[in-house]
């Protein structure tokens, strides 16, 4: 089977966070298990073992790329390639001051895609202490762009003035 990354584009780009990736990978495993459990099991039937959303996305991918869901070798290759590509996704860890909604996550992910391209997922952690902004950790590099950091820097630079204000 050809390894055309574009056929997986929608599936890959639909994954925005590590939680989604973990969940999706486990669904693929469950689907594969259900599908290859028996020769008689159809893809449609196997897809019922996973979430509707994921099932739809996978089915769309098969249809869009004219893949034969009855061909077990094709299906097996699709799953393997999909998992390999998922493994290659790069994780950006973000520490935020609030718990983001899906919409916010989507916006952030979209912004990441705009500035960095596809192939990135977000690992989001919440820490109210940072007040605002984000801590960005990527490839082991730590970057603090939080409001807290800015205030601390302000403290350091304008210590006397602030203490005067405090008194």
């Amino acid at each position: 089977m050809k390894k055309d990354v574009s056929m997986y584009f929608d599936l890959i780009t639909s994954l925005k966070t590590t939680q989604e990736v973990i969940s999706f990978v486990s669904e693929i495993d469950a689907l594969a298990l259900a599908f290859f459990k028996s020769e008689k099991t159809s893809m449609e039937k196997a897809l019922t073992s996973i979430s509707v959303n994921s099932a739809n996305k996978i089915m769309q991918a098969f249809l869009k790329n004219n893949l034969d869901t009855n061909n077990r070798a094709v299906v097996s290759g699709f799953f393997e390639t999909l998992k390999e590509l998922i493994k290659k996704l790069k994780t950006i860890k973000l520490v935020l001051a609030f718990d983001p909604t899906n919409k916010v996550i989507e916006k952030i992910h979209s912004f990441v895609k705009d500035i960095l391209g596809i192939g990135y997922i977000l690992d989001i952690e919440v820490s109210e202490d940072i007040l605002g902004g984000a801590i960005i950790i990527f490839n082991g590099k730590y970057n603090d762009f939080t409001l807290k950091k800015k205030i601390e820097d302000t403290f350091t630079l304008k210590n006397k003035d602030i203490l005067q204000l405090y008194k």
Binding site: I108, V112, I136, F145, I162, L165
Partner: protein, 236 residues
């Protein structure tokens, strides 16, 4: 012949007692015979004979007494002579004996002195040896004591240094802890008001509390900065 004075005086006393006894006997006999003899003169010739015999006896008695007196005087004079002789002999013997004794004493003294000096010399020699030995012992003991003292002092010095170092360390740790505690306390004081302060500062800096859009804006701004600073560059 030598007669000791005690014996001599004993003999003299015995002679005198005997003489007195003899005089008493003669006196008694003469008195007892005087009156009967007067009565007999007038009687007969037999009595005359008896009287003669008594006179003879009286004469003999007187003679005996005289002899006894003479002998006593002779004995006394002999005794006196003997006494004198004895005295002279005694003096001579005494002088000779004294001389001999003095010589012996001198010899003994000389021997004793020599022996005494010899003993003194021996004692001196022994004492010197003893003192030398004692001196050596004292020297050895003193050296040992000095060595021990030195070692003790070294140990004490090391121990003191250790103690001082430990105390310094302890004081240092205590001071460090005090500073840390003070720092923590001050930080705690600051922390207790930090959020209020931060809020005030946030308000001062931002002018108002952040809304969702502003949060998103800050996040996007953070991502942009991160990109600019090369935070997303791949590790090779």
């Amino acid at each position: 012949m030598n007669i000791t004075p005690i014996i001599f005086y004993d003999m003299l006393a015995s002679i005198l007692i005997l003489s007195l006894c003899l005089i008493a006997v003669v006196f008694y006999i003469s008195k007892a015979t005087k009156n009967p003899y007067a009565g007999l003169k007038m009687k007969d010739e037999d009595s005359q004979k008896s009287t003669n015999l008594l006179d003879e006896a009286r004469v003999k008695a007187a003679k005996i007494i005289d002899e006894a007196n003479n002998r006593a005087i002779d004995i006394v004079s002999k005794v006196t002579l003997a006494t004198d002789a004895s005295s002279a002999n005694f003096k001579e013997d005494l002088a000779r004996t004294s001389s001999v004794q003095i010589k012996e004493f001198e010899k003994a003294t000389s021997d004793f002195t020599a022996l005494y000096f010899q003993i003194l010399q021996d004692l001196k020699t022994k004492n010197i040896e003893a003192f030398q030995s004692i001196s050596k012992d004292i020297e050895m003991n003193t050296m040992e004591e000095i060595k021990n003292f030195k070692e003790s002092m070294q140990k004490l010095t090391v121990l003191s240094q250790e103690e001082v170092r430990k105390k310094i360390d302890l004081n240092y740790e205590a001071s460090k802890k005090e500073i840390e505690d003070y720092k923590k306390e001050e930080l705690r004081k600051i922390d207790s008001g930090i959020y209020e302060l931060l809020e005030n500062i946030s308000k001062l800096v931002l002018g108002k509390a952040l809304n969702l859009a502003e949060h998103e804006g800050l996040i996007e701004e953070s991502l942009q900065k991160a990109k600019k600073e090369g935070a997303f560059k791949e590790l090779k």
